[in-house]
Structures are given as structure tokens and as C-alpha cells.
Symmetry: C2
Subunit: 578 residues, 2 copies
């Protein structure tokens, strides 16, 4: 490609609404332009990277035996009513009516449509397993779209849906997809982790998120540096920090703690470690009739509750924080002095697994300005229900017993799910087994945010000058910058020759023949983030040399002009094979 025939839309300034670096750089580099909130044009430069991401995804999906198809963006409401998500999905589902007043949605995902295909097309166990995928534009009506392609409303997804005869077969398909995802993100040149994940609203069991590691990531990722354990913080198991419970050594005493409503303050006042205190969290579950059920969750004073873990406990799927009124009614005291002993009403007590092994601990006395010290399970209050309800912290033991956990931040770019029979049950998608009996198909689903990958790659790879693309998803692999293309015959001829040689070697090169000043030219390509640059000028050519600089180098190096294209082509190919 010659730059004069391409469209380069670099900007000096980022728009005011661009809060994060990938959004700023994608706009400044001329990759995207805003059309409406969360809705973008992908300019030719941006689309080149998208197409490269798509090609890698398609290649690995095909290698993994998945079949590409294409489902519609506009989907009839009936399918969503059948699955139950017409009601459950909420306002992110953009609903609309056609000219005949029939209801449709713009698909944010395609479980319903693909399950409808499967139930119509698949009759027999002999047709299973099958894995359908598509690369398609989706719409999710985010209440507050932001961060450019990271949380847009219209976006491109690769979504795959597998159908197996049983859970064992699903697990094989799932592993194939997991492995394909590892290859996909590796080929994209990204540093990522596959982390065990909470399933979210999609249902089913067994899921991993593929997280691109970046300081600016929205998600907290828990991992063990000395093993391959990794999980989303919502799914990371928190082991008890005490192996067993010590025998009581103290007597329970009601102690004045005036004005000390926080564990930290109580510990300081009493001169004890924060690890001896227990925090009371009160949640409520609304009942169809009558009073809400009140649940007291106990975690160690230095820990935080994990509401996703709580929501997984039996009967607590819809638990919410209790109101102050509900708390006063149940405990007879206001928050800050609550505890499991002497509550006004009987209630469910759930102790975190660490709390369950504590002894001689401190809890609120259910009376303002008082706590109970030297409290012990069994002796002073009944044995609690035990559960893992706290968030892990750095330094916790790894659940696999192979080290200590660390926490970093990541951007989710893909997810693999074992859906099970959630949709095949609700939509009656069955196959006939060997004995002719109908069985529900066992499903998996596998997403990659194609446009989101661009943003994540940038959040991981940038500097003050702009984007630094991995070769495999760069809009161009090499830029040839002639110094005075319009003035020097020698420079022009050599630039054309080097560019031609790169193209002949199969390199995706661009020749900047615009005749811009070197400063403008270099700034543009550093902002755009082309990973390799060759500068061709009269001065160097006198010595038979051209300047090479990788986007990560701080200084250029000299290459023999005759060899330059070959050397750079080799470097690109080596990078693509990594």
C-alpha cells in the first residue's frame, strides 16, 4: 500500500470523551471515529487490524473443527420469550418493532437463534458433536457506553456454540476451544491469562475468561506465580487462613468501645491485631410474602465480602444489602456494633471459612458503643454455617497448594462456557440417542470480542508516542519512510525497490510517499504503531545504508541497504511465528 492512496486520519488531540489510553490512541491514530455513544466507524486503518484479528480467529476455529455460519442481527422476540431471556435480559437488550408491529431484538448474543437451528437440523447422535461459530456485529444497549471499543454498544464478536451428546463429550469440545483460544491470543502476541471464571447470568457450570494483562484492566485477576492457578477474583477460592481452631483462652466480656464502629478502630482501642476482629455484613432476601429473610455474614476484620460468592449460596441468589431499618429491626442496634450474639430476631448466620476457625475473637455487642471480646464458637454461640464468602487478597495461599496468590489487572477478551442444557431444556433441543430416545443436547458457548481485542492490545502495548502493535494484528507490519521522496531520485528509487522487495516477500508494508516532513511522518507512524520502520535517505545511501528501528527501540540501527528488506522480512516472520 502506498500512503498517498490510503486514508491516514491522525489527530494531534484526543476527544474529550476518551478516558482511557486505548480509546485516545485509536481515535488519534485514525482507527475509529464516534458516530453516536458507543457506536463507531472503523476507518480503513482500524479495519485492517480487525481483519487480521478475524483471520487468526477464523483459522484457529477451523483447525479446531468449528463450522462458520452467519445468523441474523435482527431476531424475533418469540425465540427470546421461549428461552425466558425476553424478560430476564434487561435494558441492554435493544427491542424494536417492525412496520407490522412485530417485536424483534438486535442480538447481543445468539444462544436462542443457534439453539433453534440445532433443534431443527440435528436429529441423531450421529450428527454430534457439532460446533457452529460466526463473526458478527452485535448490539448491547449499555446504559453508559465508554472506553471506545472496550465497552461499546455496537461491536464485533466471534461467538461459537457447541452441541454435544453428553457432559463428557462437552468437556472434550470445551478443552478444544480452550486450547484454540490459547493459540489465538498467543498468535496475537498478547500477554494473557486463562482464568477460572464466575458464570455470570448465562448459567451452567465451568467457565474460563481469557484476560489480557494490563494495569488499566477493569477486572482483578488472582493468580499463583509458582503454579498455573488463575481465576477471576469473583471465582477465586479463599482458603481458611487458620488450619484449625485453637481452644478458647479468654472469657467473653462486654467491652465499651465508644465511637468505634470500625474493626480497625476497635482493634486499635483494644490493642489487638485486626485479625482478631470480625466484621458483620447484613443481607436480606425478599420473600414472595411476608418479611424479608435476614442473613448475617461474618468475615474477618481485614477481609472484604464477595457478593458474587454469596449469591451462589443456596437461597441467596437474589440477596441484597439490608436497609438500615431492617438491620435495626433484626439486631436492635445500628451498623458498627452488630454481631451474632443477642440479636433481636433469630437469623441465619454464615461464617467465612477463616472466621469459622477463629477463637477469642471480637464482634459487635448489638448495642451502640459496645463490643464483645473473647468470643468463642460453640461456647458463646452456636457453630455457624461455614462458607467461602470473602474476596481473596494477595498473600493468600493458592487453592492448588502450590504457592501464594498474587493479584493483577486484566481485560477480558474471550470467554469459554460450559452451558449444559440451559437452552436445550427451555427450547426443547433434543437428539435421538442410540436407543431412539430423545435427549437434550449439551451445549457450550465461546466468545471473543474482536473489536475489544484491539483496545486490550493497545492498553498492553503503548508508550508516550503512541501504539506499539504486535506484528500479527498491526495495520501494517513495516513502514518505509523515504526522506525526500518527491525531491531525490536516488531516495525514490531505493524506497520503491525496498518496498517492492518487502511486498514480494509477503510483508504487509506501506510506503509513505506523501512527501511529508520527517517529523510529521515519524510522529504519524509512531502514533499508528507500525512495529518496524525503515528510513531511507540520501545521507545513508551514500554509505549504502538505511536506518532500521523497531517500534520498541529507542535508537535506530543501520542496515546495508541491499539487505534491509530481507532482514526486516525475517524479523517480521520470526515475530509472527512466536
Amino acid at each position: 500500500m502506498k500512503a498517498s492512496r490510503f486514508f491516514i486520519g491522525t489527530l494531534k488531540e484526543a476527544p474529550a470523551d476518551a478516558e482511557i489510553v486505548s480509546h485516545q490512541l485509536m481515535v488519534r491514530a485514525g482507527m475509529i471515529r464516534r458516530v453516536a455513544g458507543g457506536i463507531y466507524d472503523y476507518l480503513p486503518l482500524g479495519l485492517r487490524s480487525i481483519r487480521k484479528v478475524e483471520a487468526i480467529v477464523r483459522d484457529e476455529m477451523e483447525k479446531a473443527g468449528a463450522l462458520e455460519l452467519l445468523m441474523p442481527a435482527v431476531q424475533p422476540a418469540e425465540l427470546w420469550q421461549e428461552s425466558g431471556r425476553w424478560v430476564k435480559y434487561g435494558h441492554e437488550l435493544l427491542r424494536l418493532k417492525d412496520r407490522h408491529d412485530r417485536e424483534f431484538v438486535i442480538g447481543p448474543t445468539h444462544e436462542e437463534v443457534v439453539t433453534d437451528i440445532a433443534r431443527r437440523e440435528i436429529r441423531s447422535y450421529r450428527q454430534l458433536p457439532v460446533n457452529f461459530y460466526q463473526i458478527q456485529t452485535k448490539f448491547r444497549d449499555e446504559i453508559r457506553p465508554r472506553f471506545g471499543v472496550m465497552r461499546g454498544r455496537e461491536f464485533i464478536m466471534k461467538d461459537a456454540y457447541s452441541f454435544d451428546r453428553d457432559v463428557e463429550s462437552l468437556k472434550l469440545t470445551y478443552q478444544k476451544m480452550y486450547d484454540a483460544y490459547v493459540r489465538i491470543f498467543s498468535r496475537m502476541g498478547l500477554t494473557f491469562r486463562a482464568v477460572a471464571a464466575d458464570n455470570g447470568s448465562i448459567g451452567g457450570t465451568g467457565s474460563h475468561e481469557f484476560q489480557v494483562i494490563a494495569d488499566t484492566g477493569e477486572d482483578a485477576i488472582v493468580y499463583c506465580p509458582t503454579s498455573d492457578y488463575a481465576a477471576n477474583i469473583e471465582a477465586a477460592e479463599a482458603l481458611p487462613l487458620l488450619a484449625s481452631r485453637a481452644a478458647p483462652a479468654e472469657t467473653m466480656v462486654k467491652t465499651a468501645t465508644p465511637g468505634k464502629a470500625k474493626c480497625e478502630d476497635v482493634a486499635e482501642l483494644l490493642g489487638i491485631p485486626l485479625e482478631r476482629t470480625i466484621k458483620s455484613i447484613v443481607m436480606a432476601v425478599d420473600a414472595p410474602e411476608g418479611e424479608p429473610r435476614i442473613v448475617l455474614l461474618l468475615i474477618r476484620g481485614d477481609h472484604a465480602i464477595n457478593e458474587v460468592k454469596v449469591s451462589k449460596l443456596p437461597g441467596l441468589a437474589d440477596a441484597r444489602m439490608a436497609t438500615e431499618q431492617e438491620i435495626v429491626d433484626a439486631f436492635g442496634a445500628k451498623p458498627g456494633y452488630l454481631g451474632p450474639i443477642g440479636t433481636r430476631k433469630p437469623l441465619t448466620v454464615i461464617a467465612d471459612s477463616t472466621v469459622a476457625n477463629m477463637s477469642d475473637f471480637v464482634v459487635g455487642a448489638n448495642e451502640v458503643d459496645y463490643h464483645l471480646t473473647g468470643v468463642n464458637w460453640g461456647r458463646d454461640l452456636p457453630e455457624p454455617t461455614v462458607a467461602d464468602v470473602r474476596e481473596v487478597v494477595a498473600g493468600d495461599p493458592s487453592p492448588d497448594g502450590k504457592g501464594v496468590l498474587n493479584i493483577c489487572r486484566g481485560i477480558e477478551v474471550g470467554q469459554v462456557f460450559q452451558l449444559g442444557t440451559k437452552y436445550s431444556d427451555s427450547m426443547n433441543a433434543t437428539y435421538l440417542d442410540e436407543s431412539g430416545k430423545p435427549q437434550p443436547m449439551v451445549m457450550g458457548c465461546y466468545g471473543i470480542g474482536i473489536t475489544r481485542v484491539l483496545g486490550a492490545a493497545i492498553e498492553q502495548n503503548f508508550d508516550e508516542r503512541g501504539i506499539i502493535w504486535p506484528e500479527s494484528i498491526a495495520p501494517f507490519e513495516v513502514v518505509v519512510c523515504p526522506m525526500g521522496y518527491d525531491r531525490s531520485e536516488t531516495v525514490r528509487a531505493e524506497a520503491d525497490r525496498v518496498y517492492g522487495e518487502l511486498k514480494a516477500a509477503g510483508i504487509d508494508a506501506i510506503l509513505d510517499d506523501r512527501g511529508e516532513r520527517p517529523g510529521v511522518m515519524f510522529a504519524d507512524w509512531e502514533l499508528i504503531g507500525v512495529p518496524h520502520r525503515l528510513v531511507i535517505g540520501d545521507r545513508g545511501l551514500k554509505e549504502g545504508k538505511v536506518e532500521y528501528q523497531s517500534r520498541r527501540d529507542t535508537e535506530p540501527t543501520l542496515l546495508v541497504a541491499a539487505d534491509a528488506a530481507g532482514v526486516v522480512a525475517q524479523r517480521v516472520k520470526a515475530a509472527l511465528e512466536r
Copy 2:
């Protein structure tokens, strides 16, 4: 690809709603499935052909210097309000509101969005010309979607939009696109004509439609077999069939024609040729205030009116057929006996160019059961306004003077338009010329119905057994059918070898390893329409032979087994280069 790993969804019966052969065959071959009216799933087989169509289009667009980008499906209403099409476009524009009650449309086309890009990104004449294209899913809310992909609601389009500094430059860009379209449809192996077209509602001047010739086509195409003249029937110029007007030979006489309301019946009663009679067509143009304006159009008795031509006449853009009441009020008679002489009210008379040269003709007397015979212009009534308002018929002289016109039927698969400044004016898309003065960009637009191409190709290429794909857009180029893949070691080994050799030669082959009976296997592949078939069986292999049959052959021929892959690969490649 091996058939056992692919998804083959052939059906014995077409669905009841499939009225035309391409719709029937696409469903039966397992290419598409209906999701809702005019909304389809593209199953893996269908998508393979779509991807091949897209690849040809993309390749030729790139060669013609167009730049691919991607605009959103969901577009803000503001842009459509600015262009004026929010009001004008009608019910085919699917409007919707997001969760914040802001109005959007699902784009049926992208003039507004691309003009918005151009006005923001293009500053100077130095950035022109530029031609942006995309391959994208569109939605048009057809009142009565039918004919499968031929008139669907959700469909894939390639749409390109060019921006030039002036009309001369646009004409060069337009010619480039015209030439690219000729290459595109030639490479697809289609028989087509580029025909001069009416511009329709999109506005501007200068347009061609690319029509795939098929007896089942919706559009009538007028062409001259002895020259390169071709036009949509709505745009084809009808020359006067009489070179000049003969002198009057008869006297005007009021003649009784009881019950003869049609020209044919009047001619028969009077014993004169139908070519001596004149038909009266009455149209009305509503005025903002007061009575509608009544217009009388006169065409020869054997001709038909062309309403599109009428709508192009000054002041008649919104003309409609007059109601019976309006006719009686204006003429004092009811339809069947109308004429230009002795009307109750004065009205505009427009004579077709052939009618203007007639003499001694017959018109209605504006009295039931009476006509006037021997009528002559100038003598019996004033000279009329003359215009081309009739539809051409086969046998008419070609407007280029190089022969006689013929009429065939076609399916529009592409269109190129010279838009001019319609959108750049309304949306204020200007560039600065050499003197720094803002000038409106001069636009062109160029569409190809990607999914429609599949339907058109089938309407042109099928037989009673199924589809007959041109090689370049076939889902597979060659099918290898082993007779007893699961039983005969020899057959299996030879089939695998031939298939492997085809793949190594770059041929898109499929090996039918499903173990189906020959009858089922052959019926499937003939229905699907794979253009080349190799049948490998024990009997032939004993003689070292395999059976080859092209989809258009009635009988197979024998090929030496060792050469078969090479021979077939050559045939495919030769076809692709045609």
C-alpha cells in the same frame, strides 16, 4: 473438507413459502434457513458461497483503488434528519429507540454516515478523490419480504461511496467502478448486462444497473442485439415510430362505437389497424390548494404508458392516476370514450412522440358510445406538448440507430450511481479547492447485493436436479464421491489420495466420507450444485479408472485414476480464469 465433519442439511421438499426456484433450491440445498420473514440463517454451505462472492468483490474493489472501512448498522436519526431522508424514506426504514429514548435507524444504506465521515475527515482537494467501501449487513423493512435472499429484509451489501472534486473527476471514478463491476460479475461466471437505469429515489444523474439475465427476473431489460445499447425498461428511450406526420386525408367524424371502450374493439369495429387509434390516460397532480391539475396523456392504441417516464416530466414528479370522479368532472364522459377534443374543462395534453406524428387517427368523443375518427393535429385540435411517455416494445428501433430492440428479463445485482452533490449539499460536505474556497464534494455510490448474487446465480443456473454453480462462487469446486468408503480399503485409499491431491493443487474439494448410498450421495451433490464430481469405485479402479462428471454433463466420462485430480484441477482453474 470432509463431509463427515461438515454440516450438510439437504431437504427433499422446499418450504411452502418458497415461490421461486432459487429460494426453493437454497433451502433444499441447506444454504439458508428462515428465522423470520425476510430474515435468514446462512448455514455453513451458504456462507461458503457468500465468502467467495465477497472475496471477488473485495479483490476488484481494492484493485480499483477503493478503501475498505466499516460503518455501523445502527445509525443516529440526526444524520437522516439532516439529509431529509428521515421523512422521505418511508416505512422501509426501520426506526427504533434506545434505552434513553434516542432515535436510531438500522441502516438500509449509508450515504448519511459516509458523508458525515467525509465532511469531518476531508479538508483539501489534495485528499480527493477517495472511494470508501464496506461489506456490511443491512436492513430494509420490506412490506412483503419474499423470494428468499432476493427480497429479504436483512441482507449483505457491498456499498461504496466516492468523493471527487468535480463532475469530470466523478466520471472517471464512475467509469473505474463500472469496469470493476464488469470484472466482478464476469469472474462470478454470470451472464449479465450493464443497463442504463432510472435513478430512482436516490437522486442525481447517470446510473447503470448490472442485471443477471434470467427468465425469472423481476426487471425487463431492453437491449439491441446488434449494438451495445442496453437499458432498464424504465429508462429506455422510445423513438417516434413515424418519421414525420402525413397530411390529413380524412374529415373528422363523430362515429358511434356502442360498447367499444377499448382501442382493440374500436379498431375491429371500424376495420382499421390498431396503430390508427389513440389511448387516453388521465393523471392528476394534487395542488397545495384548490383542484388537482388534470393531465391527459396520449399514446398509440397498442402502446403502454411508462409512469416513471411521466414522473420525470416537468411538474409531474408526483402525478397519480386520476379517479373516475375527477375524469368525469374534467371530460364529461367516463373512461373508454375519452379524448382531447371537447373536454368539459381545459387541461394539459401531452402526446407521446409517436402520437405526435400520427394523422387521421381515432380518439374518444368524450361521450359514451362515440369516438371521433379522421382526427388531425393542427386542424381539429391544437398542436400538443410532445414527450416520450410510452414503454418500448420489442421491435422498436434502438435509440443508437444501430438496430432493433429486444427485451429480456433480468435480476439486478449491482448498481452504479452518479449522485452529484445531493448529500454533500444537504449535509454541507465541502473541501477547500486550490484557491482555498469551499466546494461541495461530488459523490458517487456503488452497490452490490452480496446475498442477492447467490439467488440470481441460481435463477440463471439450475436444472431439475438442483443448482449448477459457476466454479468461482460454488461452495465447493469438486466433490469426491467414493463408492463404499466404509467397506473397500482400495476405494478409501484412492479417494483419500485423489482428495489429498486436489487439496494440494489448491482446489476447494470435499470428500464425501459419510458412507451414504450412491443415490443419496449423488442427489445431495447435484442438489447442492458442486460443478465437478469424481466417483471412485472398485469396478473402475480395477481398470485404473475413475468417473468424472461435470454438473452440466448428462453422462460421466472415464479418467485414468492417477491423472484424475490433475485433470479436474486444470478444468477448475481454466473455469476460474475465464
